[in-house]
C-alpha cells in the first residue's frame, strides 16, 4: 500500500525534493524513537545523510534558478523545515547514543544544508523572516571581522564607533537581531562605510550616511546631539551660537539631500522610532529658540533698573537657596527662581549677573566664613522679629 514516491499521478510538485523528504524521515525517526535500539548503523547513517544532503543541495541550487513569486511562500516554509532539522537532531536522545563523531558529522552536514538553503533562497524571504543559527553564524563572522578592522583603523573616530552600534549589537546579541531586515540593514551600513573608507571620506560624510540610512539608533542619536551640543556651548556670544546653528542646519540640508550613499531597502533602523532627520530638525529648532531666549534676556536689563545688593553673589545665592528650600516659594527648584532674580538684581562686582553665576555660586560647598555671615544675618532677622512682637506687631522704626 505504498502509494507514494513511485506513483505517477502523485507528483505534481517538485520531484527533486524527495531527498529532503527522505532526510526528514530519518530525522523524524531519530527524534521520535528514543526507546528503540539504535535505528541505523552509524557509518551507514553518516554516509546516507551526506548523500541526501548533497542531493538536496543540488536540488535547491537547480530550483533557485527558476524562481517565480508564487513559490516564495512555499520555499520560505521549506527553509523553515530545513532550519528546524538541526536543533532537533542536536537534541535528539537517539543521536546522543551514537559515537560523538557520528553526531558531529550529521549535524555538520545538516547545518551546511541549512546554510545553503538559506543562501540560495535568501531573496524569497520576507523582511521579518528569522534566519537560523547556521546562517547567522556566517553573517556574524563577516560583520565581526569588518567591525574589528574598522575600529582598529580608526581608533579615535567616536562618530564611526557610534554609527557602528547596530553592528556591535548584532554581533553580541545575535538572537534579538536575526531578521532578514536587520541583517540587510547591517550589510548596507557596512558597505556604505567601506565605500566611505575607500574615498577617504570626511566626518561630515559619515553623517550623510547616517541620514541616508536613517540610522535612528538611540546611541547614535545621543552621540550626535551631545557632540553638537558641546560645539554650540563652546561659543560665548549669541551671534556665534546663531552662526553655529546655521552651519549645522546647512550641513543637515546638504547631508539629507546627498545621493552618494545607498539607502536601506527596508527603511529606518528602528521602524517605530522617529527618523534621524525629524530628530535633528527638532533639536536644531529647539536650540535656535534657546539662543533667541538667551538673546532676549540681556536686552531688557541694562543694569540701571536693578536692585543693588549689599553682599556679593555667593551670599545672596546661598541665602535665597536656603529660603527656597525652606518653603519660601511654592516651587522648590532653584534654577528657575534664580533666572527670575538674575534679571532684577545687581552686585558690586557684577552689575548684570547671569543665571549661571547664581546657580554656580549656590551649588558650591559653602565655606565657614559665609556660614558665619549667614548665621549673623539670620540672628539679626530673628532679633528684629522679636522686637516687632514686643512692639505690638509694629516695626520698631515705624514709630510709636
Amino acid at each position: 500500500m505504498n502509494l507514494l514516491p513511485g506513483q505517477p499521478t502523485a507528483i505534481p510538485q517538485q520531484p527533486q525534493s524527495l531527498a529532503l523528504t527522505e532526510l526528514t524521515q530519518i530525522v523524524y525517526e531519530l527524534a521520535g524513537s528514543s526507546r528503540h535500539r539504535l535505528l541505523y548503523n552509524a557509518d551507514v547513517l553518516v554516509s546516507h545523510i551526506e548523500a541526501l544532503v548533497t542531493e538536496s543541495i543540488d536540488n535547491i541550487h537547480a530550483l533557485s534558478r527558476e524562481l517565480t513569486p508564487d513559490m516564495h511562500e512555499t520555499l520560505t516554509n521549506r527553509c523553515q523545515v530545513v532550519a528546524s532539522l538541526v536543533p532537533l537532531v542536536k537534541q535528539s536522545p537517539q543521536l546522543q547514543r551514537y559515537p560523538e563523531t557520528v553526531g558531529k558529522n550529521i549535524i555538520g552536514g545538516l547545518e551546511y544544508l541549512c546554510l545553503i538553503f538559506h543562501r540560495q533562497l535568501y531573496r524569497v524571504f520576507s523582511a521579518d523572516y528569522q534566519l537560523p543559527h547556521s546562517y547567522l553564524k556566517m553573517e556574524v563572522t563577516n560583520a565581526g571581522m569588518q567591525y574589528q578592522r574598522l575600529l582598529s583603523q580608526y581608533p579615535n573616530n567616536k562618530l564611526l564607533k557610534a554609527m557602528l552600534r547596530p553592528i556591535e549589537k548584532f554581533i553580541h546579541n545575535t538572537s534579538a537581531n536575526n531578521t532578514k531586515k536587520s541583517i540587510d540593514y547591517n550589510n548596507v551600513l557596512l558597505s556604505n562605510i567601506k565605500l566611505w573608507q575607500r574615498r577617504k571620506g570626511t566626518q561630515d560624510e559619515l553623517y550623510e550616511i547616517a541620514l541616508t540610512m536613517n540610522l535612528n539608533c538611540p546611541r547614535f542619536m545621543h552621540y550626535m546631539a551631545s557632540e553638537a551640543g558641546l560645539e554650540l556651548q563652546s561659543f560665548e556670544k549669541r551671534a556665534d551660537k546663531g552662526a553655529c546653528i546655521e552651519r549645522l542646519q546647512k550641513l543637515f540640508l546638504q547631508a539629507s539631500t546627498s545621493t552618494k550613499w545607498k539607502a536601506s531597502v527596508y527603511g529606518a533602523y528602528l521602524p517605530d522610532v522617529n527618523s534621524v532627520s525629524t530628530e535633528v530638525q527638532k533639536w536644531l529648532s529647539q536650540q535656535a529658540d534657546l539662543v533667541k531666549l538667551e538673546a532676549a534676556a540681556p536686552a531688557e536689563t541694562s543694569g540701571t533698573n536693578r536692585v543693588e545688593m549689599q553682599e556679593e553673589v555667593e551670599f545672596f545665592s546661598i541665602l535665597l537657596k536656603v529660603m527656597i528650600l525652606e518653603g519660601l516659594t511654592k516651587l522648590k527648584k532653584v534654577a528657575p527662581i534664580f533666572r527670575v532674580f538674575s534679571t532684577v538684581i545687581s552686585f558690586a562686582k557684577s552689575a548684570v549677573p547671569s543665571e549661571g553665576n547664581l546657580i554656580r555660586a549656590a551649588s558650591r560647598r559653602v565655606d565657614g566664613a559665609l556660614l558665619d555671615k549667614l548665621e549673623a544675618f539670620f540672628e539679626r532677622c530673628l532679633l528684629l522679629v522679636r522686637k516687632i512682637r514686643r512692639n505690638g506687631g509694629k516695626f520698631p522704626d515705624e514709630g510709636e
Partner: protein
C-alpha cells in the same frame, strides 16, 4: 485507551533497559521538545493543497470525525468546560483542515454547502481505513504514547512505517491543532488514521 496498554508499556521499558524521558524536566529535554514542535509546526506551515475532489475531502472530514468520536463518548466534565473545551463537531474539524491545507471547494461555496448538498465519496476514504487503523493499534503491542508537560505530543509507533514521513509529522501536528479546538475522545486513532490517509488527498512532499 492507553491505560489498557500500561502493562505493555512497562514491558517495553524493561526491554530497552533505560528511559531517557526520565529527564522530562531537564533543560535539554525542553529544548528538544521545543525543536520538535518547531519542526512539526514548519511542516504544517507548508500548507499542502488538496488534490482530490471536494467530495473526497468531505469523506475524509467525516472519517476524521468518526475517529475522534471513537470509543466511549462522555459529556464534557465541568472542568473541561471551564477550560474552554468544546465537543467535537464536523464543521470545526473541517475548519481546522481548511486552516492547514488549501482546499478548493470547486462548485461549492464552502464546506457547509458541500456538506449539505454533496454525497461523500467513499472510493478513496472509507471506513476500511478506520478499521485498519484500529486493528493495527490493537494488535501492535509496543505502541506507546508520551504526553509531555509542555504539550508536545509524540506517538511513536512502527505503525507509521508505511506512509510518508511528512504525512506522519503532518498528522501529528494537525492532531495537536485539532485538540486545541475540541475534545478528541480518541486522539491517537485520529492521528494514526490521518497519518495513513492524508497523503491520498494532499500529496505531501517537502
Amino acid at each position: 485507551m492507553y491505560n489498557d496498554n500500561i502493562g505493555e508499556l512497562e514491558e517495553y521499558d524493561a526491554y530497552d533497559g533505560q528511559n531517557e524521558y526520565e529527564q522530562l524536566g531537564t533543560q535539554e529535554y525542553k529544548e528538544y521538545a521545543k525543536a520538535y514542535k518547531n519542526l512539526l509546526q514548519s511542516v504544517l506551515n507548508l500548507r499542502f493543497s488538496w488534490e482530490k475532489d471536494p467530495e473526497d475531502f468531505l469523506a475524509l472530514v467525516l472519517l476524521t470525525y468518526k475517529a475522534i468520536m471513537n470509543g466511549e463518548v462522555e459529556p464534557l466534565t465541568d472542568k473541561e468546560i471551564a477550560a474552554g473545551m468544546v465537543a467535537p463537531d464536523v464543521d470545526t474539524v473541517a475548519a481546522v483542515f481548511d486552516e492547514w491545507i488549501s482546499v478548493d471547494y470547486g462548485s461549492y461555496q464552502n464546506f457547509q454547502q458541500l456538506r449539505q448538498t454533496a454525497i461523500p465519496s467513499d472510493t478513496i476514504f472509507n471506513e476500511e481505513y478506520l478499521a485498519l487503523a484500529e486493528s493495527k493499534r490493537i494488535s501492535f503491542d509496543t505502541m506507546h504514547e508520551v504526553s509531555h508537560a509542555d504539550g508536545a505530543h509524540m506517538i511513536t509507533s512502527p505503525l507509521y512505517t508505511v506512509p510518508h514521513p511528512i504525512t506522519k509529522m503532518w498528522a501529528e501536528a494537525f492532531t495537536v491543532k485539532l485538540a486545541e479546538r475540541m475534545k478528541l475522545y480518541d486522539e491517537s486513532l485520529c492521528e494514526i488514521l490521518l497519518g495513513h490517509t492524508i497523503h491520498l488527498g494532499a500529496y505531501m512532499v517537502i
